[in-house]
Subunit: 286 residues, 4 copies
């Protein structure tokens, strides 16, 4: 038996980039948090501390800022592809580069004035190897709520089950979704807006008997409307709203007054996919 | 010398209330985090553990939910006034009640569907004593940025000063503002919308030589446009955006590529007031 | 009626300093987060953007690092006093300086190896004016729990009260305490260790009928054992542990199985003071 | 092409359990956050909202509390195994159960008094299927620092590299480690203490030329000293400490005064394994 090095990667996490573009007096703004992770022939630094194959993580940070100047910072997927390809093609010992981008939205208030939106964060994760490319887009922090049109009943009851059945409840979740593209070339802005819209519509328009049903409906709606997307993974916390018990005060509560709970919470995770898509390059949704 | 009990208060913090109102098929939604703190004749419980004057904090929580049913949950200031008055008038040993509300905004997506906004949180803090009432409204988490129209120069230089002067920089802040009303009766919704609008306009329209100047301009703008407001306190972190040094890569950087910094940050705090307003009841802005 | 500038201050928040001292091969480590806030004659920058009286916050940050080299970074109170005095004496327009320090503890693992402790953070806040000095020490994040020896009954019951009385419950809190010193000269390390020990002993050894009683006991214990301390403010969240209802499963629960709650929580705040101490310089505990 | 349901699971996250055991007057305390996730034959609820195979997540929460009473809550691995086996054996439609536990340490202060430690969190993740069992133990939040005995040089330099080489720097990290056991039966307490000790010793005793080298050394040290462990994954942020530039103030800085940085940070991830261990059941470290 010997002890050996297994899978490994390294990089720079959370490089904070703000890129201003000036079209005369009218400015536009990009606000990204960028992560880079490289893997390849990195045994030497682990085993002996020989860094001859190690590009410093500080250099990755510099490259993010330099590329933002040289190439601009457009769509998150595009910027991530540019960076990932650079590391794989310029460093022979690097066999895969993974670049992730969180993109924070700002609403325009004037020619050079902006207000940060907080209603969702757009994400992109790109993996480039010598042979292949994989593009994952996504959204986090999109919090949705239906105040009715949600039931939950007919479930399994064992000896530890006390939950009453309900035919009217609040359904709320903070959407964490990622989707894999079929190719590495798309109209990324349009694709994201379309997917976001489909997710929201899927949530709003589903009369729900379980959050699982809503999940599948949201995912299906994205795949039906976006041909460029192969599959989608949704992670949906069930943000419980408990009916306040007002009976001790001789008050009724017809689904009007709720206790918004923090922990624990249900957590529903599922993938919706096409039956004919090529396999993913990475364990992309774990 | 003896050891004595000084100022004290107690209450329930962070009660999470969601209130749905149904107008036929069209629902509306209120999402509040409520805090209650009472003070008065509370020496016994501190000195001997005699709780004869202690209304349980659990009761305060119950009262929040019961009042949301009985009286609805309208504007944050109104709901806070209702609760605070209840505790002072119903409990003789209570001499002051302070009720705080954080109100989270949701955007309508459909008759019973909503998306949580994240661009700011509205706040209210109400203090009611037997004789007096004080209403503080506010906003937190409002993040604003001007990508130009900001200079900083002509400052003091001592032996530890290395900062270069600049005539063009990003100015960004996350506004934390609270303002004291002249009376306990106002059109709270209209007042808040007006103050928020004045804060944003004050930021956007000020050509800034210091964040202090912007602060005073924002505060003045609120007082000039809102007669019902006595004074305003602003706490403005200077969210530094450092120019990335691209010269090692033979690249220029004409205020295009910025490093968004986390810590440390400048912190500018100031009150803008009218010269003729009555004194505050509480140390309201500390 | 005119609009005027009220109270204001500005400074640099959250400067992160790590200071290593080398005594041969044996190193020691100081880990501080430092905040500086200055006030004085600052009207010009607010009203006209004239910065002639403004020492940049960047300079305050530089001064923290330079002083750590020149004077070392010893006890938090001492380092804060040094900095605060520097700003008041070197800048004529500055009339008060407030320096706050959070000190993070590290446990020694070897001559130059350390593990970060996480069981509490030591704090100091020093205010220096031309005439006076005030030193506040404190602790945050000290989480204590008694699994018995806590009762709560005999409290007020109104129409919204449903809480059952109990003669055996868990009492748990995360201590946030600050205490004001009588002078600006003390053995700060010994004083802190003594106060911390008194707080812990006060919590552990009090058979409690309310968290208020425990608060007063903790505060009194500090004042009885530490002559150099004038008064102490305690902010104690009641970290509720709810008894899990196991009766549906035909199981008893004799104070064995608890649900640790997040929100809402009771919040108990109180000052314990000596009856003969001089008044505080600042609204120090708000 | 059709749209189909892919991998999915659901469960209850972050159930907060505190379990007190009483041995006469001497109490002991367990503080766990428990997560449950089940997978199996769950298509119906996704596709049609038929919940006939869905055990409510509320029931999972109840089961955690009931099991804590019935079986006690001992070592995290043991409690997780008990729960996971229960769900797989009692629910025919469940084909895999994953139970995760975070265990928070408390230090004894007296027979029934405790202080929460904050220096690390112990973790366990157990996966049980009808045929197999997998146990992963781990630790998070263990923050370690060497103030010397760390170099970094000899690395790749490309056109974006500006980092100077160094032969003396601070090396600091917050250890996030998970390790896979060879069997589902071990002295879990002893195994954890041994692994924790090996991680710390591996960090302290490695003269480091890269954080990768330290990572491999830490992992190897665990495998060499703990026969029951098959492999270990380490995720190590490089908590950068930048040397403060004091030259503008005519001060030297011989590795004494450091700026502790937040973002960005290096992130080093690697697995150390034995060359003869059976394959893992799950993508356990992603």
């Amino acid at each position: 038996m010997s002890i050996v090095l297994g899978e490994n990667r390294y990089g720079k996490a959370e490089t904070r980039l703000v890129r201003v573009s000036r079209d005369g007096d009218t400015h536009s703004l990009i606000d990204f948090t960028v992560g880079v992770a490289l893997s390849g022939d990195l045994a030497a630094t682990h085993l002996t501390g020989d860094n001859a194959g190690v590009l410093p993580t500080d250099t990755m940070k510099n490259t993010v800022y330099a590329f933002a100047k040289e190439h601009g910072a457009g769509e998150p997927e595009e910027f991530a592809l540019l960076l990932a390809r650079h590391f794989v093609t310029s460093q022979p010992q690097v066999r895969a580069a993974r670049v992730s981008v969180e993109s924070f939205g700002w609403e325009r208030l004037g020619p050079h004035s902006f207000q940060r939106r907080g209603d969702h964060t757009r994400t992109a994760v790109v993996t480039v190897t010598v042979e292949q490319t994989e593009v994952i887009s996504g959204v986090t922090g999109l919090t949705l709520l239906n105040s009715t049109a949600s039931e939950f009943h007919g479930f399994v009851r064992d000896k530890y089950t006390t939950l009453p059945e309900t035919t009217d409840r609040i359904l709320a979740t903070a959407v964490d979704a990622r989707w894999r593209h079929l190719t590495d070339d798309a109209d990324w802005a349009k694709s994201f807006e379309g997917a976001l819209d489909a997710l929201i519509k899927g949530f709003v328009n589903t009369y729900s008997h379980s959050l699982q049903q809503t999940l599948f409906s949201m995912g299906s709606h994205v795949l039906r409307t976006r041909d460029e997307i192969a599959e989608i993974r949704l992670v949906l916390p069930n943000k419980h709203h408990y009916l306040a018990d007002l009976s001790p005060f001789d008050l009724t509560n017809d689904n009007e007054v709720f206790i918004a709970g923090d922990r624990p919470y249900g957590l529903i995770e599922g993938t919706v996919t096409r039956d004919d898509v090529p396999e993913a390059l990475t364990a992309w949704y774990q």
